[in-house]
């Protein structure tokens, strides 16, 4: 499956998008795969991911089949990493999503030291993955390039919608929902942080990146005529100085 490969955006837009996933191949390295995959997730949690997930149960934000009507006013929007780890009951692809290169590098280095024997892949910009490998002292084994979307691309929506919807490579985050969330943020009906959680719940394997999605949504907000993202960058620069 290519569910993390074909994310829409240029290399720079993946600066806060590092998906590291582990997988065991049937008949090759699947012996004791379940505890090893659980260990992979436990280690990932130590490095402060923005999402964790497995391909059978989903990510750290999940829909509820018994939602309390009061939730409309006091909904829990905290990602539950413990539930992801506890819920892993079958060897499947497990993923950790980081919004920071240093965290991803440290995690990859640690995973190498743990020597779990699982196949591990990094899905991000080509340079970003190379840097992670270099830091961990690992030469890349194989690489799968995304050549992007072709054919009748006139059927695809605009860049912002694409950046949001393709973060669930299985296609569970619809273009329409992404567009609606952009509109709601523009209209001030929801904050970017709230809008992100609605989309994240649809991702069925936990690779949706809430931090990158929040950044995309913040790019539609302006304050005093300036994009919010620009104001945040200025404020960060001032703080650094």
């Amino acid at each position: 499956m290519t569910n993390t490969l074909h994310r829409f955006g240029d290399a720079e837009s993946f600066r806060d998008d590092y998906v590291v996933f582990a997988i065991a191949s049937k008949g090759k390295n699947d012996q004791d795969a379940l505890p090893k995959l659980r260990r992979f997730l436990e280690i990932a949690r130590e490095y402060k991911p923005v999402n964790l997930g497995d391909a059978r149960h989903g990510g750290a934000l999940r829909p509820s089949k018994e939602m309390n009507p009061m939730s409309h006013w006091q909904r829990d929007m905290t990602p539950d990493f413990d539930a992801v780890i506890a819920g892993l009951d079958h060897p499947t692809t497990c993923a950790a999503v980081f919004d920071d290169r240093v965290k991803a590098e440290d995690f990859v280095k640690r995973i190498r030291e743990e020597d779990l024997g699982l196949s591990v892949n990094i899905s991000t910009s080509i340079d970003g993955a190379e840097q992670c490998c270099h830091y961990a002292g690992i030469p890349r084994h194989s690489v799968g390039y995304s050549l992007g979307f072709e054919g009748h691309t006139e059927k695809l929506p605009n860049d912002r919608v694409m950046m949001l919807s393709t973060m669930c490579g299985h296609g569970m985050v619809s273009h329409q929902l992404a567009r609606k969330m952009i509109d709601w943020v523009k209209e001030g009906r929801r904050t970017p942080a709230e809008a992100v959680t609605y989309m994240a719940r649809f991702c069925s394997c936990g690779v949706f990146n809430p931090a990158r999605a929040k950044r995309v949504l913040e790019s539609v907000i302006h304050q005093n005529g300036q994009p919010l993202t620009q104001l945040q960058a200025q404020s960060q620069t001032n703080a650094d100085e």
Partner: protein, 280 residues
């Protein structure tokens, strides 16, 4: 999938979450309705929407009251207030739709687990794509457009005519009535799916030829294609062979999936593999 009309309150939340835009509010019935021809049975509505179990009559009354006063009730957008979605039993060939669209179910219809194969993700233990080879994943329909098998067949038959062979464990391959010609079984040709992937492997020298074939077929079908190209790196972790070909063809390489080579074949299985080699 079906929407129980006795429960639906036409709130419209589900119309936005359907990746195929197959759900609409029927103006006569005043209920959410699924266009079954466009629905790919991905279950995004059933699995992704949180469910409340409110009394439908009460919800309709409140909504009508608000509507009369031109007041907009703004509930959470990812909720079905009355749990109106009900999965129905899928028969052949419709079951194929779900197999290629709902990522949480194995390919019961095809006998292949998973929606594609592991391609280069486990190349460190499978050795599927070797130095000098290129693995292609040609994916149809994603994101959010969908594809029908007759479109996929145009590509598979073109590739087959060029002498390309298909990955045996791939779900689309398992639905071919004649793998040598890339012909897909006739009874599923009009079925629509969220996405489906053709997987092939060729010597690196054929990379450009395959891409040009893909470009030609893309013009003949009415969906989108996402192309993935996998290769084995050299001992220094470099790829100085395939990337230059792709760049020469005009691709700007931005994102990749990188297998970092930490996979290790389990000891017991290594022994079994060794035995198999002896017997061979």
């Amino acid at each position: 999938m079906r929407i129980n009309p006795a429960k639906c309150v036409a709130c419209g939340n589900c119309t936005y979450v359907c990746p195929m835009e197959a759900i609409y509010i029927d103006p006569v019935l005043k209920r959410a309705t699924i266009n079954r021809d466009e629905c790919v049975e991905c279950y995004a509505c059933f699995n992704g929407l949180s469910q409340e179990h409110l009394n439908p009559t009460m919800v309709r009354t409140v909504r009508n009251l608000f509507k009369m006063m031109r007041v907009r009730f703004e509930p959470e957008p990812d909720v079905c207030p009355t749990a109106a979605f009900e999965p129905d039993k899928l028969e052949w060939p419709r079951v194929v739709r779900r197999a290629f669209s709902d990522p949480r179910v194995p390919h019961e219809s095809t006998g292949v687990e998973g929606r594609g194969t592991e391609e280069v993700k486990t190349n460190d233990v499978s050795g599927r794509v070797k130095v000098g080879e290129v693995g292609f994943t040609i994916e149809f329909g994603r994101p959010g457009v969908g594809a029908r098998f007759y479109e996929i067949q145009k590509m598979s038959q073109t590739l087959a005519r060029a002498g390309v062979s298909f990955e045996k464990k791939n779900p689309v391959t398992s639905l071919m009535s004649d793998v040598a010609t890339g012909t897909i079984r006739e009874d599923i040709l009009n079925e629509k799916v969220m996405s489906a992937i053709l997987e092939i492997k060729v010597p690196v020298e054929r990379t450009e030829e395959v891409i040009r074939l893909v470009w030609d077929v893309e013009k003949q079908i009415s969906t989108v294609v996402a192309l993935g190209v996998g290769t084995r790196c050299d001992e220094n972790g470099e790829d100085n062979v395939v990337a230059p070909i792709l760049e020469r063809l005009g691709y700007k390489l931005e994102r990749a999936k990188t297998n970092i080579g930490l996979g290790r074949i389990n000891a017991v299985q290594q022994k079994t593999d060794a035995k198999e080699v002896v017997h061979a």
